[in-house]
Structures are given as C-alpha cells and as structure tokens.
C-alpha cells in the first residue's frame, strides 16, 4: 500500500516538475492570432460590430468574447474566412446587421459650412478641410464607414455606391441558362 502511494506521489511530483518547466520554457508572450483575425477584417473601422474599430473586435474574437458574425462590411465572405481560420462553423450575419454594397461618402459642396465635425469623426483621416472652409472626401481613402454622416449639422454628406467600371469589372460566375425542353 505504502509503495503504491509512494509510486503515485513520486510520479506525480516528477511529471509536475516537467510540466512546470515546460510552462516556463514555452510561455506565450502575446497572441499573434489577433493579427491574423485583424488581417481578415475589412478595416473600415465602422464600429458596427459594437467595438471601436477593427482591432478591438479582433481582440475580442481572439479572447472568445465576440462572435465572428458581427462584421457587415466583411459580409458572408468575411465570416466564412474567419470561420475557416478559427475552425468553427460559418453562420449568417448577426440580426440587425446587413451587408451593403461598398460605397464612399460624398460631401455636397454647396451645403458644407466648414464645421470640421466630420473631419474629427473620420477614423482614417480621409476628409480634408479647415474651419469655415469647404471639406472634401478623398474617395480612394474612404472606407464607407458612414461615421461622418451623423455629426454633420447640415446633413450635407451622403453615401454613393461605387459604380462598376472597366478596371474594377469582374467576370461573372458562369450561369447556364435553362431552356424549356418543349414549348406547350
């Protein structure tokens, strides 16, 4: 009986020591997973996920505090890729969130009063202007987050869906037209 207890206790001590050493040797400094999740997110910084930007959302996903289906700009495709990375099942976007076609904000130059409120709201500094001067949005830098819409006191900002042109045009998924075999 004593032998048995001694053996088990000794074994336990030995293995515990090994594990203790391993936990020091293989300590994980930071979670590179956040970077990988962040790389998938579309970086619109729109905050629709409920976090103040893409990085905080990525951190929340990595910690398991947020679900993967809360990013509307990423759309179904983004959810799918997050699911793939994290090895979970993809699911539809969370309720109340919908994927919109990519758009850019446009300032109506006739109405802008130069209040700089939108400049402060823009998360990617894509609006140029100064106090009492007309503002303008750099379309190439605009992520379409819509964060500049609510602060505008004269409602001079609206979203314009990006139209397809030749440089952005994509070949369509081949669709085979169905023909009725015989007309009645």
């Amino acid at each position: 009986m004593i032998t048995a207890i001694l053996i088990m206790a000794g074994g336990g001590l030995l293995l515990g020591a090994v594990l203790g050493w391993a936990s020091v040797r293989y300590r994980v400094q930071e979670d590179p997973l956040v970077e990988k999740i962040d790389a998938i997110l579309p970086q619109t910084q729109c905050g629709q996920c409920g976090f103040p930007g893409c990085k905080p959302y990525a951190e929340a996903i990595a910690k398991g505090e947020a679900d993967i289906n809360r990013c509307p700009p990423g759309g179904e495709d983004g959810v799918k890729r997050l699911a793939e990375l994290l090895g979970v099942d993809p699911k539809p976007l969370d309720e109340g969130l919908e994927h919109k076609p990519k758009a850019v904000a446009v300032i109506d130059e006739n109405l802008c009063i130069g209040c700089t409120l939108c400049i402060q709201a823009c998360p990617v500094d894509a609006i140029v202007g100064a106090a009492k001067q007309m503002h303008v949005i750099i379309a190439d830098q605009c992520t379409g987050c819509e964060l500049c819409l609510p602060p505008c006191p004269v409602e001079c900002i609206h979203m314009e869906v990006i139209r397809e042109d030749i440089s952005r045009w994509k070949w369509r998924y081949p669709v085979i037209p169905l023909h009725p075999v015989r007309q009645a």
């Binding site: 962040d38 790389a39 997110l41 579309p42 970086q43 619109t44 910084q45 930007g53 893409c54 990085k55 130059e109 006739n110 109405l111 009063i113 130069g114 823009c122 998360p123 990617v124 500094d125 894509a126 009492k132 007309m134 830098q141 992520t143 006191p153 004269v154 409602e155 397809e164 042109d165 030749i166 440089s167 952005r168 045009w169 994509k170 070949w171 369509r172 998924y173 081949p174 085979i176 023909h179």
Partner: protein, 552 residues
C-alpha cells in the same frame, strides 16, 4: 533545320484562314467620326490632354502616358474634339469607358512628324521615351507598352528575340497579310528591336500553314544585315502563345509566375514590329492597324483602318453583314469575346472582327456534369489540371484553385474546346482570377485603412497629450501669479469677464448675419434645399432655446 521542341497539349481547330487571306490589305477611306478610347493598353489609361471643342491634327497626342506602365494615344485624323466622355469600347463587360470622340474635318492634316532615322546614334533612353510618346503597344492582343519591353534591365541579358508570326487563332490573317505584303518594313522594325535589346539571335516563328508569308519573310531576310532566322512551326493552337512559342523555338520553359525576359527571351508581335518601323521611319504614332474582318460578311478581308474606327463602319467596309448574322466576335473564336455594342471602336488590341452566324458559330450546347475524362488536362498547353481548377473555381474555393496554379492558365480555351461535356471551363477560370484580383485589391485597401486608422489614433492621443500639457502649464502659471498678487485679482477678473461677454455677444450677432459660403449662383432647386435646411436649423435652435428656458 532548327530543332523544335513541341509544347504539350494544344488543339487543332478548323483554320478558316482562306476566307480572308486571299485579298490584299485594303486601305480604309476617311470616316466622319472616330472614337479613341484612353484605355487601349495594359496599365494606367492615358490622361486626356484635349477638351471638347479643341481642334486636333492627325497624329497629335490627345492622351498622354500616365505613370510607368502606360503609353500615349493620338488623334487618327484632323478635326474637332466633340466629346471626352465614357463611350462604348470593345470590352467583354460592355461597360462604357472614357474615350475622345473626334469629328473629322475631311482635310486629314497631320502634325509635322519627326522621323527617328538617326536612331542608331540616339541615346537608348531617349529613343524609348519617343517610342512611348508615339503610343507603341503590343498589337498581338495583350497591348503591353512596347517601350518597357524594349528596355533590357542591366542584370538580365536578352540573347534571344522572338517575333511572333504564328497567328495560331483560327480566322485571323492580319499578320499573315502584313508579312506577305510588307516584309521589308517589318524587318526594319525588327532591326530596331534587335539593336535596343542587343539580341544575339532573332527568330521569326510562323505557322506552316502560311507558306507565302514564310517565303516573303525569308526572301527579305537575306538582305537585312543581322542574324535572323525564319522558322516554320507546326500548325497547332496555341503556338502563338508567348510561352508556347518560346518553348517551341528554344526549348526554354518560362517558370510559373516569371516573364520570358527572366529566361533571356523577349517576344514581340509582327504587327508591333511594323508599327515600330512606321514610328522610326516616318515618326508616325500608332494611329492605324490592320484588322481582319471575316465570317459572315460579304467580302472577308484585311483592312488597314485608323484606331478609333467604329466597328459598325469597319464591317460596312468589308461589304457589310450578310443576312442571318447572329453577333460579332472581337478577336478569334478561341480567346475572343462577344461585342456588345458595334459603336465601339477599333483599338490597338482589336486584331480581328468576326461576324457570326448560327452555322459557323452554333450556340454552345448545354453543359453536362464533368465526367473526369481528363481530356482537358491532355489539351492544356500550360500543363495544368483544368478539371481540378474547375472543381474549385465552381465551388468558389479560390485558395485551392490558386494551389492548382490558376494563374498559370493562359485562357487559351483548349480545355473548353475539347470538353465532351461542353463545360465553359475558361469562363470559370476567368471568374476565379478576377475574384482573386478583387480580393487582392480589397486587402490592399484594408491594409491602407488600417495604417491610416492607427495613425489617426496616434494623432488623437498626441493632441490630447499636447492639450493636457498646455493646460497644466497654464495652471502652473496661474498658480504662480495668484500667489504673487491675490489682491488685484478681483477688478482684473471683472474686466476680463466684461470683455468676454462682449465678445460672445459680437459672435452671436455675427452668427446671425453669417451666410454660408459659395451659395451664389446656385440653381433654384439647391437654393430651395438650402433654405429648407436653414429653416430646420432655426427650428432646432428655437427648440434648444425653449429647453434652456424650461430648465432655468
């Protein structure tokens, strides 16, 4: 006899060359209107340098190169610019693109061309810039700016120059006719290429179904003054593919993702050599090209037309469509696409227009499921496995498709041609490729946005810090002053308060009088809109006031 290295795969579709190669190249008459697209080459579209109403002369630059991978476009005749706007262009999407429409004045007056006859003594870099400004781009179909291809990098030696006269696509005969009729001119263009690249051997690959062109080129080559070999290659589609022709003639395989220059080979099209000759000899920019018009037309033939000729007019020049035509194809039947709008003009990339009829081009039979017979893999000249690519492109699994080297596909159409189930394989590959490109663009945009957001956060933090520092400094100052002279504080504060009050009142008065800028000369509907917004703001202000009073 040169040893040839047959490339794997390939097909041999009916050639249909005899329809159009019997007639000499016709010269198109001057037309009343030309439309010159600004995106005629790979890379950045040219920047328009004329505006509506401008008078232009033939050969005048109307679009200047924008960036490195770009080249110029020129006015095909003299006349007046009537539009600089999106107009139909020959593109599979049918989307309109920025183009310059010119109404011909009938005089066809040209600017003073400056021939580059002393090109041998010119600085190569200057010569290349001239070539860029003359708008040279590969006329075989890929339209890559030629001046870049003529620039041998310091490290990479290009011992072999290949001239592509294979013209492997069925129906097309424009290079064939050009070689038959103007071999000496072509060779003078080749001489410039050879000298710029310092090529040690020059090979002209011509498919053996063009004996006349071969003979003409061979006869001309005897007096060209540099080593040049005209090589007959077996008629097998796609022998005219750059990588295929390179392998066929030299046995060198272009690695995946590499360019032919990486293995010391540069490939040019015959038509490009001819336009280079025009540029050097006459200083003439690329304002015309030879186009094959064939298929279901009255007189199938090759026509030398100006860039910008509407395709409807081009077809009319070939005797017009016959009854029962069912559409038009730009390029060959293997790699070409359906033209959506025949107002679209001839561009540098349009080498052939085929008018379809239901007998020559029956509608494709409905696709059946893949039976995994492997015919496509046997036909693939790029040694890919099209059935695997299809499997993953269809399921939208682009990562896997890329794993099977989707981007080595040259979209030659051999796999679709041999598929017993009539699956439009190439359509799936094109779809996959453009999806991947779109994703790549999105990733880049996201990366940029991430960086800008990070900087935004950093800037906010910095400003907050600066503000806090300033406040702290001020507080410290005040503390010091307060300790020094507490007695004088009261009247001083009173005076300051009065000044502040006056300032606030002034500001409020000014605010009432303030008019938004740039509201002069606005149309009435916008004026009305502004008035509405002003009214709304006034209402809001009143409401806020009322609330304040309630609180008080």
């Amino acid at each position: 006899m040169r040893k040839l290295y047959p490339f794997p795969g390939g097909v041999h579709p009916p050639e249909h060359k005899s329809e159009s190669n019997g007639r000499p190249i016709a010269q198109a008459p001057l037309l009343p209107r030309y439309v010159v697209p600004l995106r005629q080459h790979i890379g950045n579209p040219a920047k328009p340098v004329v505006k509506v109403g401008d008078r232009v002369l033939k050969g005048q630059m109307i679009g200047q190169p924008d960036g490195y991978v770009s080249t110029a476009v020129h006015a095909p005749t003299s006349g007046r610019v009537v539009a600089v706007a999106p107009q139909p262009v020959p593109h599979p999407s049918g989307i309109a693109d920025l183009a310059i429409a010119i109404e011909a004045d009938g005089e066809d007056r040209a600017i003073e061309y400056q021939p580059l006859l002393d090109w041998r003594s010119m600085d190569p870099s200057t010569l290349r810039n001239r070539i860029r400004d003359l708008g040279l781009a590969g006329l075989g179909g890929a339209v890559f700016p030629s001046y870049i291809k003529l620039n041998p990098k310091a490290a990479a030696r290009i011992p072999t120059l290949i001239l592509n006269g294979a013209e492997c696509e069925p129906w097309i005969t424009c290079d064939d006719r050009l070689m038959r009729e103007r071999p000496h001119d072509i060779l003078r263009g080749i001489a410039v290429m050879q000298a710029l690249l310092h090529a040690e051997e020059v090979l002209v690959g011509i498919e053996d179904n063009k004996p006349e062109a071969m003979a003409a080129m061979q006869a001309a080559a005897e007096h060209c003054g540099f080593p040049l070999e005209v090589v007959a290659v077996p008629t097998q589609y796609p022998a005219g593919g750059g990588k295929q022709l390179t392998y066929l003639l030299t046995g060198k395989e272009t690695p995946s993702g590499a360019l032919s220059t990486d293995i010391g080979v540069q490939v040019f099209n015959i038509g490009t050599a001819y336009s280079l000759y025009r540029a050097i000899e006459f200083g003439e920019p690329v304002i015309s090209r030879v186009v094959t018009v064939t298929g279901h037309v009255a007189e199938p033939q090759n026509i030398e037309v100006r860039i910008g000729t509407p395709i409807a007019d081009l077809i009319r020049l070939a005797g017009g469509e016959l009854a029962g035509a069912s559409g038009r194809l730009i390029g060959g039947p293997m790699m070409g696409f359906d033209l959506r709008d025949d107002a679209a003009p001839v561009t540098k990339s349009v080498n052939c227009v085929i008018v379809k009829n239901p007998i020559l081009f029956p509608p494709p039979p409905p696709p059946m499921p893949c039976i995994r017979c492997g015919e496509c893999a046997r036909a693939c000249p790029a040694l890919l496995q099209p059935f695997e690519l299809y499997w993953y492109a269809k399921a939208r699994d682009f990562g896997k498709a890329q794993g099977y080297q989707l981007f080595d596909c040259i979209e030659c159409g051999c796999c679709s041609y041999v598929c017993p189930s009539h699956i439009p394989l190439v359509d799936y590959f094109r779809y996959g490729k453009s999806e991947i490109w779109a994703r790549e663009r999105e990733m880049q945009a996201a990366e940029q946005a991430r960086k800008r957001h990070e900087f935004h956060l950093f800037r906010e933090e910095r400003e907050k810090q600066e503000k806090a520092d300033k406040l702290a400094a001020k507080a410290a100052e005040r503390l010091k002053q307060g300790a020094a002279a507490p007695a004088t504080a009261d009247p001083e504060a009173e005076r300051k308060k009065a000044i502040l009050q006056a300032a606030i009142e002034r500001a409020q008065k000014a605010k009432a009088n303030i008019q938004p800028r740039n509201v002069d000369n606005v149309p009435p509907d916008v004026q009305h809109e502004i008035a509405e917004i002003e009214a709304r703001r006034a209402r809001l202000r009143e409401a806020a006031h009322a609330q304040d009073e309630d609180k008080a």
